[in-house]
């Protein structure tokens, strides 16, 4: 399989998958249970979800390891099993997709706050991420996806942890921004300008944003990133801001709408486009068409 970074280097736009958590819940994951518990108990469910996104046209499939750093798993008493939980998730996706898609290993925030603002020591947080990265990379992940970060130091520790395990594995890193009257900031006060320089400094190959926003805001975020970086961009929007309808959580952005916005993101120079909370294989399918159109057009020109 051609390396993901080389395909992006040739100007290709790659489609990543959508949400996992909601699909897990639809398959009986009880509320309150850690989503990563499934990795050991029912890896076949992870395979099924990966296949759904693969069939919908995603070329990058994420592992169910967002909260699988030992620090985060410790909340559920699963810290000791972090290695096995991460490995199992990578292997499940690999079984489902073979070499037809890239296995992207997700790594979310530790849930702890670094000193001096919180009580966590940087060395301990790094060690936690390193253990997770070791397991993900050993199990055969094609790319690492550090995501939903709000603290730039934590994001850097995670990227550096991946780099310490493998100097060559491609690393994507995204942060979650909030629109304010003064521009976009993470809750920890990180601007897109700062994210651009610091994520690159830590060793990320692709940078961008996920979660927190619907597609329209994400187009603005992508354009802002473009001002400050030459690195390829990665954007994973939520399917809008959730509403509750008749007792059910409902995400307002339809597959058609997100496909339309996908066109905008491509126009803004985004290299990897996927979905976050509320997106489904239907969204992926609709976005696939737009990405394919782009492919045709660029071949024609």
């Amino acid at each position: 399989m051609e390396a993901i970074t080389s395909r992006i280097g040739r100007g290709q736009v790659l489609l990543a998958d959508g949400a996992i958590g909601s699909l897990l819940m639809a398959r009986g994951l009880p509320r309150g249970a850690p989503p990563e518990g499934v990795n050991l108990e029912h890896p076949e469910i992870l395979e099924e979800i990966a296949r759904l996104y693969l069939e919908a046209g995603a070329e990058i499939i994420q592992t169910n390891t967002f909260g699988a750093s030992p620090l985060k798993l410790a909340n559920y008493g699963l810290g000791e099993q972090a290695g096995a939980i991460n490995e199992s998730a990578v292997r499940a996706v690999r079984r489902a997709v073979g070499e037809r898609a890239y296995v992207s290993a997700s790594c979310g925030p530790s849930g702890r706050i670094l000193q001096p603002y919180g009580d966590m020591e940087a060395e301990k947080m790094f060690a936690s991420f390193q253990l997770q990265m070791q397991a993900l990379i050993q199990a055969g992940a094609d790319i690492i996806c550090v995501e939903t970060m709000s603290d730039i130091s934590e994001a850097q520790l995670a990227i550096q942890a991946a780099r310490s395990v493998s100097p060559s594995i491609p690393v994507m890193a995204t942060m979650t921004f909030e629109a304010t009257a003064r521009g976009f900031f993470t809750i920890m006060g990180v601007t897109i300008e700062k994210a651009s320089s610091e994520l690159q400094k830590a060793g990320a190959d692709l940078i961008g944003s996920n979660c927190g926003n619907g597609s329209l805001q994400m187009v603005a975020i992508a354009k802002e990133f473009r001002k400050f970086t030459v690195l390829p961009l990665l954007i994973q929007a939520n399917a809008g801001v959730p509403e509750l309808r008749a007792g059910q959580v409902y995400y307002p952005e339809t597959p058609e709408y997100m496909a339309e916005m996908c066109r905008e993101l491509i126009g803004a120079g985004v290299a990897v486009i996927g979905g976050c909370c509320g997106t489904t294989p239907e969204h992926t399918r609709a976005m696939r068409k737009v990405v394919d159109e782009k492919k045709k057009n660029s071949r024609g020109s």
């Binding site: 958590g21 909601s22 819940m25 509320r31 309150g32 249970a33 909260g67 985060k72 909340n75 849930g111 706050i113 001096p116 603002y117 919180g118 709000s150 909030e178 304010t180 009257a181 003064r182 900031f185 993470t186 809750i187 920890m188 006060g189 927190g212 801001v241 959730p242 509403e243 509750l244 007792g247 959580v249 995400y251 909370c277 509320g278």
Partner: protein, 213 residues
């Protein structure tokens, strides 16, 4: 009272080592503990909350200010207790079942303490029954619930329904917050209030607590 202003400013910049000596100095000047709390620490924390609300400062600044406030509270606590200063009421808070996103909730807890409430923090993964049981056993007037995952939002409705079922809805008020919830959602499930951010949450709790007989 210059010293109280100094305390507030010291807290606003998150100087946790600077606050206790100033608090002691204020006491030595004969200012009563309750005044130092209200016009020094809480005043400073309110400014911090307001600046956070308008995105002038961010979470790190608030966390440092909270540390500074606790440092000041440690000096005042024994005096407040012995003076029998009554609290504004008790508030039970927690992240609803399934959530481990507790930064927002912790922040609201800090701000509520700063505003003079007694806070019972149930932590994360709090089930509806636990919220209601804790509110009853602590004689709380408000339950504050936070969710950051859409999948856990329905637990908030379970709490409201449970209070209704137990005929407690007038006596124990509910306020909700967190990224996926909204004023509309609060209305839909019958929660008494919605806090868009920490400052709004504290203002909401104040209003609700005052309305509870």
């Amino acid at each position: 009272m210059e010293i109280l202003k100094k305390i507030a400013q010291c807290l606003e910049v998150g100087d946790d080592a600077g606050v206790p000596p100033l608090v002691r100095q204020a006491l030595a000047e004969g200012i009563v503990a309750k005044t130092i709390l209200d016009d020094g620490l809480i005043a400073g924390m309110n400014t911090v909350g307001e600046k956070f609300r308008v995105h002038e400062i961010f979470l790190p600044d608030v966390l440092l200010a909270a540390k500074a406030m606790y440092a000041g509270m440690d000096v005042l606590k024994p005096l407040l207790l012995s003076a029998g200063v009554s609290s504004r009421g008790r508030v039970v808070i927690g992240s609803v079942q399934g959530d481990l996103h507790d930064i927002g909730k912790n922040l609201v807890g800090i701000m509520l303490k700063g505003a003079g409430f007694e806070v019972i923090d149930l932590g994360n993964d709090v089930a509806a029954e636990k919220f209601v049981a804790a509110a009853k056993s602590h004689d709380a007037c408000v339950i504050g619930m936070s969710a950051l995952l859409t999948t856990t939002m329905p637990v908030m409705k379970e709490v409201v329904d449970l209070l209704n079922k137990e005929n407690l809805s007038g006596k124990i008020k509910t306020i909700i917050g967190g990224a996926p919830v909204s004023q509309n959602y609060a209305g839909e499930i019958g929660a008494d209030a919605y806090g868009y951010d920490c400052a709004q949450a504290v203002a909401g709790v104040k209003k609700l607590a005052a309305a509870v007989p």
